[in-house]
Amino acid sequence: MADTIITPQDPADIGSGVIRRNHKPALSLSIDEEHVARVVFDLPDEKVNKFAAAVVGELNELIDLLIKRTDVRILVFSSAKKDVFIAGADIKEITNITIAADALAKARAGQQAFQRWSELPFPTLAVIDGACLGGGLEFAMACTYRLVTDAEKTSLGLPEVSLGIIPGWGGTQRLPRLVGPIQALEMILLSKQVNGPKALKIGLADACVARAFLDVELPALTTRIVTRDHLETLTAGRKPEGTSRIFEKNPFGRMFTWKKARSNLWKKARGMPAPFKALEVVRQTYGGALEAGLTREAEGFAEVAPTPECKCLIDCFFASEALRKADRAPAADGAKPMDVTQVAVLGAGVMGGGIAWLFADKGIPVRVKDIGWDAVAKAFHTAADYNNQLVKIRKLKPQEVGLRMARITGAIDYKGFQHSDLVVEAVVENLEIKKKVLAEVEAQVSETCLIVSNTSSLSITEMATALKHPERFVGMHFFNPVNRMPLIEVISGPQTSPQAVQAVAALARRLGKTAVVVKDCPGFLVNRILLPYMVEAAWMLQEGGDVLAIDAAIRSFGMPMGPFTLTDAVGIDVGTKVANVLAQGYGERMQVAPVLDVIAHDFKLLGAKAKKGFYIEDAKGRKSLNGDITLAVKKVRDQRRIAPRDIQADEILDRCLLIMVNEAARCLEEGIVAKAAFLDLAMVMGTGFPPQKGGPLHYADQLGLKTVIERLTRLHLRFGARFKPAALLVAKSQRGERFFPPNQPIT
């Protein structure tokens, strides 16, 4: 590399001094007559810059060269990619780490390169105009100065913990030194990203300029640095100010900071090893020497990178990337997916209102029809409620609410439907009513209008019979509450056209949701797997299990709530109804536990919406066990002469989780969903299955399919057909296969 440098001594090449290499380099260096060096990062054949191992090697070569250049006065490092500075390390390389020693070596290699970079004999300046994440930010922090732009895409952050790892290239060391531990912990533990102006405010950046004026501001700043013009004011913002200083400058304040962060993690990241590890590393090293800190950081990285939790989180990431690409695949006939500019929603209940809110939030005008104005008002109320939640957490300014609400209009007739590009049916879950409404609305809309149903379990195939043009009819299952749940199931009926499916999936993505395309079957994908789990909890309850113990066991597995709390949240009436639909569809294996019907019908308990279900909520929002449940359980046990027995945590976990695993395998076997990875992602996003456990099929892999079969067989003998191992499980286990073979990345 050194032999190809064109030196400034050669008059013909002054001003263009470019380094050239034989293969396509990611980093290119030039040095001009003013002795300003410029390195441009442009990873070949990629849309974004990533710190792959090869790039780290190139960086080291570059440093070897630069370290001798005492004539260089400043080095400016920038990216050639639009809207991206450096997106981070290459995640694929992390999936290949299986043992701690590999992880340690990987962290060390990056740390050492960045440390050498930071010791170059001249100042370096990172020009950050776009995403600067993970390893990218760690590199930027190893530069002497950082310039950021105000562009919308400029975002700085360390999102490592969301992938199950911790920053391993100096992030846990350099970030707290620049911005103080409070701010640093927020970015490291909660993956919080900051924009340009915020980066300047907290001291992460030394200058923030308008992207439009970067051409004048960058030379001005390099000149200022070269001439050492008031450099102390340039970096003055790096010291934390005000209250944060009080907490950071004394041992008591710091202790409070660590404690607060830890209790916060208990609330937000229970069961995730990485954030706790990151906190441990920062706490142990803050205020110490950099060298020792880096060593501890690399060890911490090596402690989490090979864990199954990390692998599962990375698989989730790749699965969602793969899904995104699947939606974007061009249509078979090359037709552009239709642009949805106007939407109508039928039914103004909680789902209809939430769906209306979502469209309005994304700038799409939406008309909500119901049978009376009082009913229509409910949709506005739900939408206003979701907006107010955003205002409360400052994601929305109060004055922006009016504009969003103005995009929602109400109707009690079909006026205005003729120009809709999409109609969402969200009326009561009753097949006959839905069919009637669908036939009615089809007469009111244009030929090209997509019609979707937000049913949670009714047959799309059956509903389609009400339509003259079933090819444009798709299931679009939003989850409740619409503003929080990230998943939409897109259900394709036998007559649905691929274009319609693709358009709905693309729309779901535009709405900021993850779309999983599934085939029509009772319960579709998520409810078909989830409902048996909720019902299994009820079976255990009537056999002698305890509501609190069952919920606690499931929570300890990492689910955000136990099955009974979930049933309360869904609504006992709704849950029981869906369970019965599944029982009808799948027969014996989905038989509903009698106690559920008793609770729903004899005791008429509704769940959280009535503040009375398995739990009772008092006026202050405190929850306690509902005594009626004991009565209901007793009634069923008396009727059926069941002698109650204690049920231990092991049995609870096995029965609740393996029933899901079994049904998940059946779904895959039947081709309800295209890939195992999509199935697992849907369960993580649609049910809160702990992402660090990867989903039911990942869980099966971790247990080992042989073990799964063994335990299922035992449960089958004891509790009947619902535990009969799925054929796919048996086959895979016999062949010694896994759902997710190692070293085979998800695509």
Partner: protein
């Protein structure tokens, strides 16, 4: 007018009392709902509209040129030009006649004409002393200067000026609108009981129209901010159980000693909006549309501010001269009910040969108005008077009633604070 203006269709919000159900909605919120719904009901593409013209009196400080704010809130294309017009209480009519003028001048073909007002949201303001103090504070640099400036502060500086009150006071003659009505009551000998009887009739007619569903096809139901738990589907004002005894109990409001005008026989302060899609008659024909009606001709006239309530008489007289129509030609008449005394005074002035002679140099009275064709569905005393919106509401309400009755020619007129009147000749075919 060269060519009639076709009014394709119009709608309005329910009208709500000040501080009442609609008070959580701003003037632009109200109008945006009307505009969206007018486009839905007329099924007219927004891209083919040349401009949104909005009449509004108390222009909201947070929405300068409220018309443009309404355009964007209503989802009109970002390229939609929008202007706000102001002729005080006739602003809603001004929007319509401005559209007619633009069309006549060849500036465009299709317009949205809207009137809107949220009197609930008219702010209280600091008086001049406090305003000057804030100005001085802005100039003060050092702590000493700032302290010195604050030393001049007196608690009475904080006494607010009530925006809606000063807005309803004529700054030239210094009289509140209610006081001008007291002058007319004396001039034309309109007694307290005559006024109360008129107010009662207004309530009963409006309540009847409401009960019969006659307003349903002109009203856009409104979701009620900020809680959005209810929809307003009808006007808040009309009181079906109003009676003379209750009205008689009220004390005169504007002249506490010898007055006759009470809050019962005057229009209440109100929130509301009304709007319509308009175009030239030839354009409507070319597009094959059946308009709700037409604006045949119009006139504005001015007179002394303290007798502003007689504006309809002056404007109608001018309209008669301009169009060749006579008062007897109008089969249905709306005179906005700012005050019962003022409408009754108008009736008497119309019928007075003396008034015609003195003010217009006419030999005969302008004509008598049959009370049976005047404000047949009640008026502002019952329904309310959101100042910028009323002009547009009168046109819509009148045209829809003319169609129901199969009538051809109607008159919509109102008095304008500051001393003006407006009169619009409307036709259904």
């Amino acid at each position: 007018m060269k060519e009639r203006l076709a009014i394709i269709d119009g709608l309005r919000t329910p009208f709500g009392k000040i501080g009442g159900a609609l008070s959580g909605l701003t003037a632009d919120d109200l109008a945006a709902r009307v505009v969206r719904e007018v486009l839905v009901r007329t099924d007219f593409p927004a891209e083919r509209i040349d401009e949104l013209i909005v009449g509004n009196v108390a222009q909201p400080i947070e929405a300068a040129n409220v018309s443009r704010v309404i355009a964007l809130k209503a989802g009109l294309p970002v390229t939609m030009i929008a202007s706000t017009v102001h002729r005080n209480c006739a602003s809603g009519m001004e929007a319509i006649t401005t559209a007619a003028n633009r069309i006549a001048a060849g500036e465009g073909e299709v317009y949205l004409a809207v009137g809107t007002e949220s009197m609930s949201n008219i702010p209280l303001i600091y008086g001049p002393k406090m305003t000057r103090l804030f100005g001085a504070l802005l100039k003060a640099k050092t702590f000493g200067q700032k302290l010195g400036t604050w030393m001049a502060f007196r608690p009475d500086y904080l006494t607010p000026i009530i925006g809606v009150q000063v807005g309803l006071t004529d700054p030239i003659c210094g009289l509140n609108m209610g006081q001008t009505a007291e002058i007319l009551a004396r001039d034309f000998h309109v007694t307290r009981s005559e006024q109360d009887a008129f107010a009662l009739a207004s309530h009963l007619k409006a309540a009847q129209a409401q009960a019969a569903g006659r307003f349903t096809d002109e009203i856009v139901p409104l979701p009620l901010a900020p809680r959005y738990e209810l929809m307003a589907t009808s006007d808040e004002g009309p009181r079906p159980n109003q009676d003379m005894a209750a009205l008689a109990k009220l004390k005169p409001y504007f002249d506490k000693v010898t007055g006759t005008v009470t809050v019962g026989n005057a229009c209440p302060l109100t929130d509301g909006a009304a709007g319509m899609l308009v175009m030239s008659e030839s354009k409507a024909k070319a597009l094959g549309l059946t308009p709700l009606g037409y604006l045949r001709d119009y006139a504005y006239a001015a007179l002394e501010g303290k007798r502003m309530g007689l504006g309809p008489v002056h404007a109608t007289e001018k309209l008669m001269r301009k169009s060749g129509l006579t008062l007897a030609d109008f089969q249905l008449i709306e005179i906005n009910e700012a005050f019962a005394a003022q409408v009754l005074a108008c009736e008497r002035a119309f019928a007075s040969a003396d008034y015609a002679k003195t003010h217009f140099g006419r030999d005969q009275a302008l004509g008598t108005i049959d009370p049976a064709i005047l404000n047949v569905n009640g008026g502002a005393i019952a329904i309310g008077h959101p100042v910028g919106a009323t002009g547009a509401r009168l046109v819509i309400t009148l045209l829809k009633e003319m169609r129901r009755r199969g009538l051809k020619l109607g008159l919509a007129s109102l008095c304008v604070g500051g001393g003006q009147g407006a009169a619009l000749a409307l036709e259904t075919a």
